[in-house]
Amino acid sequence: MKRTLQGASLAVLALALAGGTAIADTSGKRIALSNNYAGNSWRQAMLRSWDKVTSQAVADGVVAAADAFTTAENQVTEQAAMIQNLVLQGYDAIVLNAASADALNGAVREACDAGVVVVSFDGTVTEPCAWRVTYDYHSMGTAQIDFLAEHMPQGGKLLEIRGLAGVIVDDDISRGIHDGVAANPQFEIVGTVHGDWDQAVAQRAVAGILPSLPAIDAVVTQGGDGYGAAQAFAAAERPTPLIIMGNRQDELVWWKEQKDKNGYTTMSISSAPGVGTLAFWVAQQILDGQDVPKDIIVPLLSISQDELESFLETTEPGGVANVEYTLEDTQGVIAKAAP
């Protein structure tokens, strides 16, 4: 029954075919992106993906507007005020990357009460009236250990680089890693540092803890920190362990260099910044009157040894490996999320 339709100008038609219900026309609807931070390459890629996909949707008349707004200081109060302004400006839906999981609930509740659809993603909110588009971060942890178990059946000593302390994503990934290690007792985590998802911070933290550690066989990470870890190992004149990579271009380039030099094998697992475009289509589908479950799980972006070159080709220098979603992709993801 699956139809492949090229061109977003047919998106509305595709919607009618796939949805099977009457079209509630969204061409007059306006969707806003409320974003809390723009200061790293992931967020820049997210904003570019949003701009690319939504401007096409606007040009095709799927929606009337899809404007992006970013707070200057990554503050909860600032974003709460922004959400209130967006409601007053009459947007029909707000796609939200939130500065806090619960501190924005009041503003989100007000938006819902005013009849505005709120779809949160990446930084999601706990307010029940909002939709949540999330990655299964727990599986991001277990997938790394599964990969290691396959490539290092004899096991080994692991260094864990965590993200930003206090953020739920960091807890979820770390729990996944620890659950994976519990299921594969041949692995042992001998050190843990917080790299804040940042190359420079990860490099410094790893350089600090390395002298106290025995030989490390593999480094499990949360993305964005693999290259920094590799630099710290090189600076300490230690052999380079198997480091799980994220999706930043510099990480992939480093991996490619090692692969060409000595057949270095690893994997990359990460959240693609194009998830924002999926949240956009989810909002459009809700406005269209479709029945969308409140929690939608998005598959993680995983790159294997063989796929490395093709992803490198499509990833610009300084950018991140990315996947953008079409309306059809989104409908597939929604269908999977439905009970």
């Binding site: 790293n40 390459s41 843990t192 917080h194 190359q199 106290s212 630099q231």
Partner: protein
Amino acid sequence: MSALSRPLARLLEKPWLWAFVGAALVWLATIPFTPGRGAGDVLTAAFTFATFFVIVGIGQMFVITLGPGNVDLSIPATITLAGSVATKLMDGQDALIALGFVAAMGCGLAVGVFNYALIRALRIPPIIATLSSSFIIQSTAIAYGRGLRIKPPPALAEFTTARVLGMPVLAICVIVLAALMSVVLHRTIYGRSVIAIGQNQRAARLAGIAVDRTRLATYVMSALFASLCGYLLSAFSGGASLNMGEEYLLASIAVVVIGGTSVAGGFANLPGLWGAALFLFLIVTMLNTYGLGAGIRYVLTGLIIIAVITAAGGRKPLR
């Protein structure tokens, strides 16, 4: 007081002493958990990363010494801008290293002059002026680089990571730089003017000190040091990134304060910057080595910093 104990008593009065004592204690507490050459390796790493804190700390210290209300919040954005501009211009070519340096310094000069223009011409308090200019600078860096991560020239990268007998070459250079700036602070008319303005700006003006020129020079210098940090940091960590300067805002102020410089201005010292920067790195290393959870780590970091500042502050009434 005997002749022998007088130098000791004078040493104990030094406000920068406690940052070094703290750093040494934390280092000693880490050693039992680092087998073999570990103790030396920890120190090497500490000097490597403390270097960058010290570079921005020098500029911030001169600004803070200008007196209450003076602080430079545009340091992180300046680091990012200078790093992005320099790496993009150098484009990984050794021949363009000097050009990249000049470009980075040009960024610093522009930022410093712009900051002081806001402060002086528009009469905006420094804390607001540098905060708002940091938005403009950061946005410029985003528009210019879009998170571009170009590899630094190999020769420059090699220089920033080189070592002599386990000691990072860059750290040695910055120790010399700090010593030079110490002479500038205590032995030149400019340095004495900064201290005098910090103690009482009105009195300094009445005494005929060129207050405006001194303040302008100080804000420009702070931006220049931030640019230098951005230039070296992008070479050290394999390229510039949009958030590379983020953590240097609090760090630049922390090394100044922990190092025994007065937050109220008018009283500064250079050696404390090194003590404080080593101390800050070693605390994180120690707590990471102990394998404590993030929550306990942050609490302990806070408590240890309070302890050192209290110990240093407790000596002040003796002066």
